[in-house]
């Protein structure tokens, strides 16, 4: 088997010393994590490694020796070989590199007499990137170390060895090491300040949120009609949803698992963007009293819609598109709907002095986010077009009754009957009276069908237009809620943190040296990022397929094309 040594790039130019790392069981590979320099006391090194093993949970050992002799430093070879007796190992690696040459040389001393001459591959990796990166698909459970494949083990080893990287060669510790932080510990004042400030802020926000949720679930607000209304209004839904999100983000416990951390970060960033867009919108709307102008155009707009509807009904009561309607039924239905419109307009006019004030205060709630503004818009549309919804329900019910009556009487006309027990059509012998009356009713309903069908068609189309508009608003709210902005930003600017795999590149080598490969991180594809890190939402999606929808429309059943998921699906 070929021996694979994962060697960090930062140690390429390190001074001579001992190699510290981990042997990966079953794969005949070793991961080098750091180089401990001379002078050192072997007892202290052993103690330090034992301490690190406990802190990090990684099976650290001394793998071998590393020699890069500078000018004047000769005769290290025998010294290095003697070191193998101090640190007892199954296999002892002696890596050496000469100044001016690129390739390494490796000599393996093994205790096992039956081991034959191994071939060696050096795989160079960039330690900082591998430490920060997360290999996908993320394994949530505890993997079995025997069957796990090599790359996740390498990544896991480097990631868990963080305690090892705290001390470097410039510290006054018992050991002097070279690893990726030898160039100096990284830090940022802003990040540290934010970390310090985050705990009290989180505690405060959690307290406020618990107050708010207890208020919402109090007895006063849980009366039956209030609950029904709040389940229909999308603003209330969005409010409860955002409260849940905030509770996730502001929990004082640190997120340890990668998925949990990403979820928190995504929610935080999307909430931040949402609120800032909402504030922008509010500042734009309130600047030149645009909200007042909007309120002033709302009542005339409702009036205009009502006038258009009246004209439409007058057209239907005449001879629409050249069709001849049943005059009596036409007049009845037309007058019925006209009276409804009249009632609706009076109601709107009653409300008109208060509309500006209501809109002004309600518009302020857009400060909570752009999603709230969109949900508000959707709710206002629903309220203002309530009469269209009512007309649709009346028309649909009438048409539905007509169609069912017709189908039942048609069966009677042919001498058949619907058997409820067997759920099928059976033949049946009717009396003459039954047949006579049935046929009469059938004829009446048949000739009234065009009128009811036309009214049904017109109001269904109007209702569908309103539903489409609301659907677009809901889809955009859903998009803002669920799109993982933080993960996307990470993929674009720090692409090594989300890794799909690795890629290898053969490095130039000299004859006589083993093979050197460079391991780069292969970033996750953009579509996988969105799919993996999408925040689950109460997304509304079409309940029926197109065919089922058409069938329902044809039969006159009431349609509710968008359905809100009541339980989140993870």
């Amino acid at each position: 088997m070929v021996l694979k040594i994962f060697f960090p790039q930062c140690c390429n130019k390190a001074d001579s010393g001992l190699l510290v790392g981990r042997w990966i069981p079953g794969q005949n590979s070793a991961v080098v994590l750091a180089v401990i320099h001379y002078p050192f006391i072997p007892g202290q090194v052993k103690q330090y490694i034992h301490q690190m093993r406990g802190q990090s949970g990684v099976d650290l050992t001394v793998l071998g020796s590393w020699s890069m002799p500078k000018e004047g430093q000769e005769g290290m070879e025998s010294f290095l070989r003697d070191l193998s007796t101090i640190f007892p190992q199954g296999q002892w690696l002696q890596l050496s590199r000469e100044m001016g040459k690129i390739g390494f040389r490796c000599h393996v001393l093994t205790r096992d007499p039956r081991g034959e001459k191994d071939k060696v591959i050096f795989i160079h990796y960039e330690q900082r990137k591998v430490m920060l990166s997360q290999l996908h698909p993320v394994d949530n459970g505890v993997p079995d170390p025997q069957t796990e494949s090599q790359l996740p083990q390498v990544f896991g080893t480097v990631c868990q060895s963080e305690p090892l990287f705290f001390l470097d060669k410039y510290d006054d510790g018992p050991v002097k090491m070279t690893h990726w932080q030898s160039e100096g510990r990284e830090g940022s004042i802003i990040v540290e300040l934010m970390k310090q400030a985050s705990t009290p802020v989180c505690l405060l926000t959690t307290w406020i949120l618990t107050l708010w949720t207890s208020l919402c679930s109090s007895r006063i607000l849980n009366v039956r009609p209030m609950r029904f209304i709040s389940s229909k209004l999308s603003t209330c839904l969005q409010l409860s949803y955002r409260t849940e999100h905030l509770q996730t983000v502001c929990s004082p416990t640190r997120a340890t698992a990668h998925n949990h951390f990403m979820r928190k970060a995504n929610i935080f960033v999307s909430f931040f963007v949402d609120v800032s867009l909402g504030l922008l919108l509010v500042s734009w709307m309130y600047r030149e009293n645009r909200i007042g102008k909007l309120a002033n155009t709302l009542v005339p707009a409702a009036d205009h819609v009502a006038k258009e509807l009246e004209e439409l009904l007058q057209w239907l009561m005449g001879a629409p598109a050249g069709l001849k309607m049943n005059r009596a039924l036409d007049q009845v239905l037309g007058r019925f709907f006209l009276y409804h419109i009249h009632l609706w307009i009076s109601y709107i006019h009653l409300m008109s002095p208060f509309i500006e004030m209501i809109l002004w205060y309600v518009g302020l709630s857009a400060c909570l986010g752009l999603t709230f503004a969109l949900s508000l818009l959707s709710d206002i549309t629903a309220l203002l077009t309530f009469h269209i919804y009512c007309f649709y329900v009346y028309g649909a019910r009438l048409y539905c009754m007509t169609v069912y009556g017709l189908s039942s009487l048609w069966r009677l006309f042919r001498g058949k009957k619907w058997n409820v027990l067997r759920q099928r059509v059976d033949s049946c012998s009717y009396d003459l009276d039954q047949l006579f009356i049935g046929t009469l009713l059938f004829t009446i309903l048949l000739f009234l069908l065009p009128t009811t069908a036309l009214y049904y068609l017109v109001f269904t189309l109007l209702r569908l237009v309103v539903v489409m508009f609301q659907g677009v608003l809901h889809l955009s709210v859903d998009f803002i809620n669920s799109f993982p902005l933080f993960a996307m930003g990470l993929r674009l600017f720090r692409s090594y943190r989300l890794a799909e795999g690795v890629k290898f590149r053969v490095l130039c080598e000299e004859p006589g040296t083993p093979l050197h490969l460079m391991m780069d991180i292969n970033p996750l594809k953009v579509s996988s990022v969105v799919q993996t890190y999408r925040t689950p939402t109460y997304s509304c999606y079409p309940k029926d397929s197109w065919l089922a929808l058409c069938k329902k429309l044809f039969l006159g059943e009431l349609i509710y094309p968008w359905r809100h998921k009541t339980t989140k699906i993870d």
């Binding site: 790359l151 690795v502 290898f504 053969v506 004859p511 040296t513 490969l517 292969n522």
Partner: protein
């Protein structure tokens, strides 16, 4: 050329792909158990690019002549540019590489005409075998302009693929990863690559 490698392309044999266009194979042996095979397909032909551009712009001019709307011309330019960029970035594959490293794994990468590389690495533990498989390839040809008929012809083509192990059942094959899908070399080219790969797989 790199020191210490054996680098050779087959000058005595010319390879073609299944449609008859010329391709080239380059084998590089980095070490006893590490080899790299690169299959390059034909580059973007300037004649076809010019033909498409002229066709699009001519039709745009005709529409402009009829409608007197300058937006048609600018949209034609934008369409041509965007189409060319999309084609060289997402569609046109320049060369495909297979890097096999004994006891580590196999790396498959496609390099597009714009320089974008898409790479995939499969660990040796997941690979069951590398084989040449047969497939039936549907080719459509219009038999005759007079008859104006589309006839479906089937040809048998060969492709090189990697068989992956099923984690639960070591004897079963869980999936197949086909190689050299855009360049589609013929059997003689595939046999060379296959023999080389099998040498390395046998050693480790």
């Amino acid at each position: 050329m790199q020191n210490g490698d054996q680098h050779y392309s087959m000058e005595d044999e010319t390879y073609t792909d299944i449609d008859g266009k010329a391709i080239s194979l380059e084998c590089q042996s980095h070490s006893g158990f590490c080899r790299e095979f690169t299959v390059s397909s034909a580059k973007v032909s300037i004649g076809r690019v010019m033909a498409y551009t002229c066709a699009v712009w001519l039709s745009a001019y005709i529409i402009f002549f009829v409608t007197e709307n300058t937006a048609v011309l600018s949209s034609a330019i934008i369409i041509t540019l965007v189409g060319m960029m999309v084609h060289i970035h997402f569609v046109k594959v320049d060369h495909e590489t297979l890097l096999i490293i004994g006891s580590l794994g196999v790396q498959v990468s496609s390099s597009y005409a714009s320089g974008r590389e898409s790479t995939d690495f499969i660990e040796m533990g997941k690979i069951k075998d590398i084989v040449i498989n047969e497939a039936i390839h549907m080719v459509r040809k219009i038999k005759d302009i007079v008859i104006n008929e589309a006839i479906h012809m089937q040809t048998v083509i060969y492709y090189l693929c990697i068989l992956l192990k099923d984690p639960s059942d070591p004897e079963a094959v869980s999936s197949v990863v086909p190689l050299f899908q855009s360049s589609k070399p013929r059997l003689n080219c595939l046999v060379k690559v296959y023999k080389s790969c099998q040498e390395i797989l046998a050693k480790c």
